[in-house]
């Protein structure tokens, strides 16, 4: 005997008694009104039923199979309504069921086929659990900040690198890159979509943090560390072939030997006389000893068979024009896959505008007695450098360098396991004489790095991790160790090549693998760094989860008590009607008169 039953019996008896009383009263009435009697007799059971439903509202069956999951950033108002599951990140809303993770919630509520995620979204921890159910998620608008930043993977010592990224909800904000000494080394305005690219320069090998600063007007919106790993690769063995001694070769040789490359230069002076390094025979065996060759158009014409054979086996080749090229060379280069569209002859090359001196100085290192620091600061006079009127892109070629006017200066394509690049600049050496050494170095190292024969080395870890968040490190072959910033070691047990790691503190960590003598550094961001980027990552992961389909509604759910308030309102209205009918004078006009 439940309270509901007792109440129901009591109410039924009350209705019965009231009906009997009504009928008796009707019989004894002086001027009985049958309509009123019928209305009263009908309304009393309705009133009783409504009262019962008010006291014991029926279970709600609509949407009963969807769990509401509160995550980080859940508004306080979400506590109203159907019950809530609170994940550990959710703020205390005053009501709801606390669970350690989503999998626990799903286990406690068996039969759940759909969850409604409130707040910013599930953390990565719960993604696997969320894949078993349909997820209804309405992503909140992105907060202003850095929504993505791509630090360079591995930077060679002394080279320049670029940091790309995107801002959310901050169009046209100023983005600055601060070098490790805190000086602004680049400053750009993000485009309308918030994208930006910043340039910095590396020094000696090591791990270093640059800083990305986003400013809206004079206010700093967000600041984040950009880890830059500067690591050296084996020095390439470079072969320079030229059909005549000239200044371009002289400066190229000087630049390459200063950079520490193993350079072999062969300049033909005609009549069988060669200048440069000790003469070598150009055949497949010798070319295998080189990683990259820079060959001018006239030297190439006579050796192209043997050189292209070596390229197929992995040699990098940079073709350069010593002047306007003839039709035969053009045809051969086109056959290599370079577009070479445009006018014949020579066109002027547009140089980029010189940087402001303050920024240019941060990109340079200190000077020395031989190379004073201001040698790298551009002169007022622009050097006159030209390029072929033909542009090498198009065809199968990939653009590699562009001048300030947007014309392609160099392009490359793969040939077998090697690569061929075509440089259309003519006489780039005046750059080194007029303070554009940096640009000269950037051009040639970009070309050499693109095409040079591959070399074994460190494989960078590009996943970004945050302190206190599980990270997955892949590419592991055996049990590996991570050295934390404080020197403690953590063991990784790889499964399928990947191992999980829980960083505790921000900083540079070193992944030590037994097979690699060199540890691989990777950076872990502080827990509160780049919140918008982290939210964007989670949000993107959320949006890959399965949204609910109409078929998801068939599963059983737990009955929830419905709201009593609509019934209470109905009961009140019916009771008021009853009272009014009992008291109203309509239909009994004679009785008051007789009472007088």
């Amino acid at each position: 005997m439940t309270p509901a039953w007792i109440t129901a019996i009591l109410l039924g008896m009350a209705v019965l008694l009231a009906s009997v009383r009504l009928i008796l009263w009707y019989r004894s009435a002086a001027a009985p009104s049958p309509k009123r009697l019928i209305a009263l007799l009908l309304l009393q059971p309705i009133c009783a039923v409504l009262l019962f439903l008010t006291l014991f509202p029926p279970a709600v069956t609509t949407g009963g199979d969807a769990l509401r999951i509160a995550t980080q950033g859940t508004p306080r108002l979400a506590a109203m309504g159907s019950p809530l599951i609170l994940l550990p990140e959710a703020p205390d809303t005053g009501a709801g069921e606390r669970v350690p993770d989503l999998a626990t919630a799903l286990r406690r509520h068996p039969g759940t086929s759909e969850i409604i995620v409130v707040g910013n979204g599930l953390p990565l921890r719960d993604m696997d659990a969320a894949k078993t159910v349909a997820v209804r998620f309405d992503p909140p608008p992105q907060r202003p900040g850095i929504s993505h930043v791509a630090p360079p993977a591995i930077v060679a010592p002394g080279s320049s690198f670029s940091v790309c990224g995107q801002l959310s909800a901050l169009p046209r904000a100023t983005v600055e890159l601060l070098d490790p000494a805190g000086q602004v080394t680049d400053s750009v305005q993000a485009d309308a979509d918030g994208r930006f690219t910043l340039t910095g320069t590396a020094r000696a090998a090591g791990a270093v943090l640059f800083t990305l600063r986003v400013r809206d007007g004079r206010r700093t919106v967000e600041q984040a560390s950009v880890p830059v790993l500067v690591a050296d690769s084996p020095a390439p063995r470079l072969l320079i072939l030229s059909a005549a001694p000239n200044a371009e070769i002289k400066y190229l040789r000087r630049w390459a030997s200063d950079a520490g490359f193993a350079v072999t230069t062969q300049m033909s002076a005609g009549g069988g006389i060669a200048l440069g390094d000790a003469p070598i025979a150009i055949d497949g065996a010798t070319l295998r000893r080189f990683d990259v060759a820079i060959i001018d158009d006239r030297s190439w014409a006579t050796r192209r068979g043997v050189v292209m054979g070596a390229v197929r086996d992995g040699l990098g080749l940079i073709l350069r024009a010593s002047g306007p090229i003839d039709a035969a060379t053009r045809g051969q280069w086109r056959a290599l896959g370079f577009g070479l569209a445009g006018k014949d002859g020579v066109a002027p090359l547009a140089l980029p505008k010189a940087l402001p001196p303050a920024i240019a100085r941060t990109r340079q290192g200190i000077g020395s007695d031989d190379v004073p620091a201001d040698i790298a600061l551009p002169d007022e006079m622009l050097p006159e450098i030209s390029r072929l009127g033909l542009t090498p892109d198009g065809g199968d070629a990939v653009q590699l360098l562009r001048d300030a006017g947007g014309a392609t200066l160099a392009a490359w394509r793969a040939v077998g396991t090697g690569r061929v690049a075509l440089f259309t600049g003519i006489d780039s050496y005046p750059l080194t004489l007029t303070g554009y050494r940096t640009l000269y170095g950037d051009w040639w190292s970009a070309m050499l790095a693109t095409v040079a024969r591959p070399a074994p080395g460190m494989t960078p870890i590009t996943t970004s991790g945050w302190a206190g968040e599980r990270m997955v490190l892949c590419g592991l072959t055996a049990a590996a160790q991570v050295e934390r910033p404080d020197g403690r070691m953590a063991n990784l047990l790889p499964v399928g090549g990947c191992g999980a790691f829980w960083p505790e503190r921000a900083g540079w960590h070193l992944l030590r693998q037994p097979r690699n003598s060199q540890p691989t550094p990777f950076y872990v961001q502080p827990a509160d760094a780049l919140p918008v980027m982290r939210a964007a990552r989670d949000r993107d992961a959320m949006l890959t989860l399965r949204p609910p389909t109409p078929g998801d509604r068939k599963a059983t759910g737990q009955p929830n008590p419905g709201s009593p308030w609509p019934f209470a309102l109905g009961w009140l209205l019916v009771s008021a009607l009853l009272w009014w009918l009992e008291r109203a004078r309509i239909g009994r006009a004679t009785v008051p008169q007789s009472a007088k």
């Binding site: 080279s159 520490g260 200048l275 020395s368 077998g416 170095g441 693109t450």
Partner: protein, 707 residues
Amino acid sequence: MSAADLLARWTAPARRRVLADSLVLAVPLILALAAIGWRLSGMVAVVVTVLIGVAIALLVARHRAARYDQRWLVRALDANRPDLEDSADLLFADPAMLGPLERLQQARLADRIDGDSPQSLRPDWSRRLIPILWIAGLIMIGLALFWPRPGHGPPTLAPSTEALPATPGIPRLVAQNLRIIPPAYTGLPPRDLASLDARAPVGSRIEWTLRFDPQATVPAIQPVGGARLALRRDGANWIASRTLDASFLYRVDPASGRGPTPPLHRIDAIADNPPQVKALSPAASLSMVTAGQRSWSPVFAATDDYGVAATARLRITLAIGEGENVTFSEREIALSGSGPARDRRFSPRLDFSALGFGAGGDMVVQLIVRDTRQPVANEVRGPSLILRWPSPKQPESSGLQGMVNTTLPAYFRSQRQIIIDAETLIKQKRRLAPDRYLARSASIGGDQQILRGRYSQFLGGEEEGTPEPPTNDGEQHSDDDGHDHGGPPRQPGPGFGAPEDVLADFGHPHDDSPASSLDPETRAILKKAVDEMWQSELQLKQGHPDLALPYAYRALRFIKDVQQATRIFLSRVGPELPPIDASRRMTGKREGLSSRVLAISPVEGRDGPAAAAWRALGDGPGAIRGPIELDALDRWARGQAAHLPDPLALSGAIDAVRRDPACLPCRAKLRALLWTAMERPPAHLARRRPADAGGTSYQSVIGGGTP
């Protein structure tokens, strides 16, 4: 006496007294304010204060004097003169408005009024206020003049900020003062600083006054990398001084190495910048003499951080003459500048006749200024300004846009000569035998041929034999051969037109024929002239000088047209070299030529210690978490001081890490400074990684690129 006269006579003494009284009160106040102003900001403040003060005093005095008016006089007379019987009012009333009795009284008063002098009514001096204000004023003046200046007298010590833990028995710096006495020429006042870090001009005298507790025995100032500077006992304090010649870091060592190492302090030397000279007028470096100009007044401005010497020198270089006959003379004159010491103006007036400057000459002036630095002044040469007096004869060429030559006068004379010869021959036709006539005509035709040949050559046509000058016809002509040769040749030369061939002598044409030196229009006209010459030559050689004449005239007219365009422009573009014929290279004499090895030695990077320390200080690879060996870095930093942006800061940061190896902010600061102190090596390559087996075979299969 009218009422107005009466009023003026009786109020004047009182007003004068009040004016005098006000001024006597104001003078001490003005003087005191002037003295304070002089003390704070010099003579300008004195003048301004005195002018404003006097103006205010006069206004107040006038205002006070204005109160002594008719109402005051009536009241004063009524109060002081019983004999006026309280009726002084009547003295100033209009008699026409008065009744007989009043008029009578007025007359009586007018008689009596002079019974006493107006001086009796004047107010007394402010007897109490005057001495008080004067004494106060004198005190203020005295204070203003004799208040001790900072940097003079015994210094006031400020408490030390070194915050070192106190160790019993070991002296510790407790109070300090740093006095900076800049060199006199800078005009800067001495100043006292409470901190031990300072920035001061080079050459300043720096005096430390330090106090230790407990009393030290052998304290010293220890500059980093320098000799100890012993402190001298002066009562309870210790003092030391030195002259600042370069920035340095130092620490105060109270107990010769015992106890904790005190922090570093830094004194920066501000170098005296050389003066800057700017030409205010004329703005352009090259200016022209205008018609009627007799003198030139360029204006220079010289600025300096402390002061430009009042006198400067102006170097005047005169280049007089034209062409190769230019003589230079150089002289220097002394100038005195105007304006404040830090921003002086020099505006010499250069008289052309006094300098001997004339038409066709250039005058180059350059200002040489010095600053007031002691002992050796900085000397700076300003920009050169050129004044050009164009020669009246030569039109001014417009820069190097095109080299201009007037050319070809002799050719035209020769064509005229041919016409004259032909006309003479026609006139003589009847007298001459036909064969003689034909020979003469052919001879003129020969002249015409040579002339045409020269013109054709000028147009790029082939040359027909060695042209002979038509005015020097050799054996074919003699002075008595019956026709006019138009006088002797103007200038004997080795070839025809040689005197006019200045283009080849000076113009250095880059093209293979002089033809491209002509602009297309001139060239077209010249070509027509040559065509006409052809016809003329043809007829002359066939013995028809009469038929040749119209062509000859037309040729002359075209040449006249060419004369209108007497300019030849040399093309500005560089040479278009013919393609190299590789087969001809190295086919000449080749003795002693052989392949050579050209040695090259790469430049070595020198920031090894900095890069090693930078890696050790970080937390990436190569990091050292314990104490770091910094001696190598320190030595390196000293050796590279000339190239480092801030060697002192680096030394300071090295010292801080050395003192406390566990101090994380110190390590971070040193690492940040090292970033600015490293070379940027020539870019190395980030090599791509080899593909795995699958990738390699895929790449081999897709191939691509036919050689």
